[in-house]
């Protein structure tokens, strides 16, 4: 094809020239052009190479259906591959590059695949590359990926911003053709909140591509008036460049809107695209239809185009698809293409498959000097890269016709993809010769060509009626429809699915599926639509078979001797067209992927030089390196020794805190904890264990009784949310009759652990002499409220995770920063050492306290040596199931401590325990190490682990076997309490 810009016509702004480039070639277009129309206007007929055979390909369509013209836009980190040139709004300095060719588009080495096409037929991958499997990953797949492919992604982070936002409306109109606009008018005038989403960068649908008349005037006048009125209606929102890509539950629609044309760099801080979630009470799908191609030999040669696309380029862009056009059609529409082309000065010839057509068409053809061949078909095309000649055949003769373009018209397929998103399949309408929607997603209506009614008159009427009905369903009163005379589209035709000829006849242009491939699938028994699709890859390209699916089914139906209705169709799923991952991610990337939670004492830790670690959403101080320390272990050892010999300060605010109050609060806590809570005196704290209903440990923490009916529950940092949900469930579902209320106060309090032999002295000075911290007044596990200043109530708990004399001081979060600085200031005289989660972890392992590594969802209270916390005096969540024989079996691994026989040897968490002298097989597996730390107290690595008969085997030895790290260490089985087994320090 040798396309060119006509001297006049089209809706482009000929005063606004835009420079752009294609494969480095400098070209010019006009504002209002698509990239495709600008390429065509510049005579670029070769736009890409096909996926499998690397055959030269040109423009085939003019919209979202385009299978061939996939290009890469932009460079560097803004490279975006596989963009349809037909839907790209031309912009100044746009850089487009062709794909799937090497070294250049016109000379492509991989064209060899075309010669090899006989062996590359359907099912080729399955048959050829099945064996040996080892070669697949290293040889076959890279080879195929290089040879058969699309564009390449940037491999760099996307530098652009994407927004996500919500919209609500009474009626969402999808498509702004005559049906959609009339629906918006009907509902908008009635006062309904209407949103119109248009995929294209202009409104109007086929109105901007056809020479229609409405009310005896060009349709453009009606369109302009309609758009002006809609713009003035306050309840109507018009959204261009907005693709409705998915229909989701309860009236949710996924929409991606291009805020700048594709390939344009947005202004700084502006978003490139917006992902809208539109919640609509009603929707109207007015998405129109996509013209069907015809399958004939050589139908993929650049220059063969859909007739509707030829008219779009002509009428909307003022671009001729060629100087001499052959229209190959089975429908009256083809004749319109010929007439409009001829009127624009292009030579045209109609090759009509039907033997007879309406006399008016023949007369008009004669009048316009359009040659007509009835009962004809194209059996071959020729030309080196572009088209120069077609060979036609009738029942009586064959003939060559010189031409540089072929327009095919074979009826229409309704664009019904969105009606299938709730798993509804369309049905074949034999009368209209197309699939039509049958069942619709809740709240969706359809109007216009998507219903299978292809005339302008029907589109206007249906649009109005459905828009009005949707408004009335939302409680508005809509006006009556006023019919206007309109030019009507030709209706008649009889689809011809496949034309016999010599050479490849393509059904799926993007995936290079030919009619021979479908025949092969049929011969080999892959006849169901689902098999046909997967065996031939028909319709599996980025275009999802918009121009090929129905034709493929029809060809299969012909081969099977059944009807298309019987063959059926595959179902369409979201997205309608590809959506950029960036739009789906929105702002949720990098540090914004999820929120970061910071303790009120965070800034203090920052200023102490803390290294932070993520624990869930929280950032916690992991350790506090000092100048001169060269390794984290050096830091952690110093922190541990400081706590054990002096005093340390650790921020434990991230632990979950839940207030529980009410007359039945004690009964409730007895129900959710395995141990008794109701016996806890006011002013005391108790360690509590929660089980899941299946009997395994869920979480642990402390319960402080602040009053007769007032408790404060702590949870682990990781499980805080789940425990809160669980407690609400236990109350609201299991025991709603109980008088109990609870609320999470995790973020209301800053909680600081002050641990070590000097902790009492430090606190005494920090809180003042008026506070009695003596062991008599504030013994181990005591808790009380303190007034630190007027209006500042704190809570003090004598609890210890480290095993040392220790307190936790909780203050309202607003005072957290001030209080931590105060403690640090007072602490100077005591050598107060900030410590982090690493030192805390070391000290809890030294004390044999279980934590996340042991509370891993597969352990029971008994496994962890906490059997005595299973009360026998009451029912509680998990009680019954925890007593299952398998969970109390003697050979379940139980918690013990380990230390390597060689104090310099390395042990690791995750190592499995094997008896000495036995092979490392699953039969000899006796448990595994859960936690390991270097203990400055012991002077070696120590571990906690779960070992069969562990508590009875203290004094024996086993191997800690870690195949992953190549370690096999003999360890002594010891008590899990390495430090202060009698608890003297704790009670000091």
């Amino acid at each position: 094809m040798s396309g060119f810009r006509l001297a006049r016509g089209g809706r482009v702004d000929r005063s606004a020239r835009l420079d752009f480039s294609f494969d480095g070639q400098r070209l010019q277009g006009f504002a209002g052009d698509s990239l495709a129309s600008a390429l065509l206007a510049n005579g670029v007929d070769l736009v890409g190479r096909s996926f499998k055979y690397h055959r030269p390909r040109g423009l085939f369509g003019a919209g979202a259906e385009e299978p061939n013209a996939l290009v890469t836009l932009g460079t560097g980190d803004r490279t975006e591959p596989n963009i349809r040139a037909t839907t790209v709004e031309l912009s100044a300095q746009l850089q487009a590059t062709s794909q799937n060719r090497w070294p250049s588009l016109s000379f492509d080495m991989m064209g060899i695949n075309n010669v090899l096409s006989d062996v590359l037929a359907a099912g080729f991958y399955y048959k050829t590359f099945m064996w040996p499997a080892a070669l697949w990953e290293k040889l076959y797949e890279p080879l195929i990926r290089r040879a058969a492919g699309l564009g390449k992604a940037a491999n760099l982070p996307d530098p652009d911003r994407y927004e996500q936002a919500n919209l609500f409306c009474d009626l969402l109109v999808i498509g702004s053709g005559p049906a959609g606009l009339n629906a918006a008018l009907a509902a908008g005038r009635a006062g309904a909140r209407v949103i119109v989403c248009e995929d294209d960068f202009v409104f109007g649908g086929r109105l901007v591509s056809e020479q229609y008349e409405i009310g005896k005037a060009p349709a453009s006048q009606w369109l302009a008036a309609c758009l002006a009125e809609l713009a003035a209606l306050p309840s109507v929102r018009m959204m261009a460049r907005a693709t409705v890509f998915g229909v989701y539950d309860t009236g949710n629609y996924g929409v991606v809107q291009r805020l700048v044309p594709e390939g344009v760099v947005p202004e700084p801080l502006h978003a490139r695209q917006c992902l809208w979630r539109i919640v609509a009470r009603q929707s109207l799908l007015a998405s129109g239809a996509i013209e069907r191609p015809m399958v004939f030999a050589g139908n993929d040669r650049p220059g063969v185009m859909l007739g509707s696309a030829v008219r779009t380029y002509l009428n909307r862009y003022g671009v001729a698809a060629g100087k001499s056009l052959v229209v190959h059609c089975s429908h009256d529409e083809g004749w319109t293409t010929a007439f409009e082309a001829r009127a624009a000065g292009i030579e045209a010839c109609v090759v009509e498959t039907r033997d007879t057509v309406h006399a008016d068409l023949i007369a008009k053809a004669h009048q316009l000097a359009v040659r007509v061949v009835l009962g004809g078909r194209i059996i071959a095309t020729s030309g080196s890269q572009g088209l120069t000649r077609v060979t036609i055949e009738t029942d009586r003769y064959q003939e060559h016709i010189e031409c540089d373009g072929v327009a095919v018209s074979n009826g229409w397929n309704p664009t019904l993809h969105l009606t299938c998103h709730h798993n509804n399949k369309p049905v074949w309408d034999g009368r209209r010769d197309c699939f039509v929607p049958q069942h619709l997603p809740p709240g969706m209506r359809i109007a216009g060509a998507v219903t299978g009614a292809f005339s302008l008159k029907e589109a206007l009427a249906q649009g109005w009626h459905e828009g009005a009905a949707a408004a009335e369903d939302c409680g508005f009163t809509a006006g009556a429809f006023e019919a206007r005379p309109c030019s009507d589209d030709p209706q008649e035709g009889r689809s011809v699915w496949s034309v016999a000829g010599k050479g490849k006849a393509f059904i799926d242009l993007q995936h290079d599926v030919t009619s021979d491939d479908v025949a092969l699938a049929h011969r080999e028994g892959y006849r169901s639509v689902e098999h046909l699709k997967r065996y031939t890859t028909l319709g599996m390209g980025t275009d999802q078979g918009k121009t090929s699916n129905v034709t493929g089914l029809a060809v299969m139906a012909g081969l099977c001797g059944t009807s298309i209705a019987e063959v059926g169709t595959t179902v369409f799923r979201p997205p309608y067209t590809p959506v950029a991952i960036g739009a789906l991610a929105g702002a949720h990337r990098d540090g914004h992927f999820r929120p970061t939670r910071l303790s009120a004492a965070h800034q203090w830790a920052v200023e102490q030089g803390a290294v932070f670690v993520e624990t869930g959403l929280w950032l916690r101080a992991q350790y506090f390196p000092q100048t001169g320390e060269t390794h984290w272990r050096e830091t952690v050892d110093r922190e541990v020794l400081a706590v054990r010999s002096g005093v340390g300060l650790c921020d434990v605010s991230t632990l979950g805190k839940i207030e529980v109050q009410g007359r039945d609060a004690a009964a409730f806590l007895d129900f959710v904890y395995s141990n008794l809570i109701s016996t806890l005196p006011v002013g005391r704290t108790r360690y509590g264990l929660m089980l899941r209903e299946d009997g395994f440990v869920m979480d642990d923490g402390t319960v402080a009784r602040l009053g007769e009916q007032h408790f404060l529950v702590s949870t682990t940092t990781a499980q805080a949310v789940l425990v809160m949900n669980h407690l609400d469930f236990c109350h609201q579902v299991h025991h709603p009759e109980w008088d109990v209320r609870m609320v999470s106060v995790t973020e209301r309090w800053t909680q600081l652990a002050i641990a070590g032999p000097q902790s009492r002295a430090l606190l005494q000075r920090a809180l003042g002499q008026a506070v009695d911290l003596s062991d008599e007044s504030m013994p181990y596990l005591a808790c009380r409220e303190l007034t630190l200043a007027e209006g500042l109530t704190a809570r003090l708990f004598r609890v210890s995770f480290s095993g040392e004399l220790a307190y936790e001081l909780a203050v309202p979060a607003d005072f957290g920063d001030a209080v931590v600085w105060h403690l640090a200031q007072v602490g100077r005289d005591f050598g107060l050492t900030p410590y982090g989660t690493e030192a805390m972890g070391v000290m809890r392992i030294e004390k044999g306290h279980v934590a996340g590594n042991e509370l891993n969802g597969t352990t029971t209270a008994r496994d962890l040596g906490l059997e005595k916390m299973m009360s026998r005096k009451k029912d509680f969540i998990g009680r019954v199931m925890a007593l299952r024989p398998a969970l109390v079996a003697d050979d379940r691994p139980q918690l013990v401590g380990f230390r390597p026989v060689d104090p310099d040897a390395r042990i690791t968490a995750g190592a499995h325990f094997l008896p000495l002298g036995k092979p490392a097989t699953i039969d000899h597996d006796q448990g595994y190490m859960t936690s390991v730390a270097y203990s400055p107290h012991c002077g070696c690595l120590i571990g906690l682990g779960l070992l069969q008969h562990g508590p009875q085997r203290i004094g024996e030895q086993v191997r800690a076997y870690d195949a992953l790290r190549g370690l096999d260490t003999v360890v002594d089985i010891v008590s899990p309490v390495f430090v202060d087994p009698k608890g003297e320090r704790l009670h000091g």
Binding site: D249, T250, R277, E693, D728, Q732, V733, P736, V880, M881
Partner: protein, 84 residues
């Protein structure tokens, strides 16, 4: 998907946490506990299930068609249990 919370009105599904079958009652008899914990129907069609509205902390009993995600009555689990 959007779910109607009796307190907050219709809200996006991202505000809710799913739990499962709302037709089961925690048994008082020990021998029934294993079934309560592990046995679940997988109904094709209407199903009653627990959802937590994490914003107002209310556990809801929602009737939902597992084929279409169509929603039936939504009630407050607490009220259902107490029978008020």
């Amino acid at each position: 998907m959007r779910l109607p919370c009796p307190y907050c009105g219709e809200r996006d599904s991202r505000e809710f946490t799913y739990r499962g079958d709302a037709t089961l009652t925690r048994p008082a008899v020990e021998s029934e506990m294993a079934d309560y914990v592990y046995q679940r129907d997988n109904p094709l069609g209407w199903h009653k299930e627990y959802w937590l509205h994490t914003v107002c902390r209310t556990w809801l009993a929602v009737e939902r068609d597992t084929r279409t995600h169509a929603l039936g009555p939504v009630s407050i689990a607490r009220c259902e249990r107490v029978g008020s």
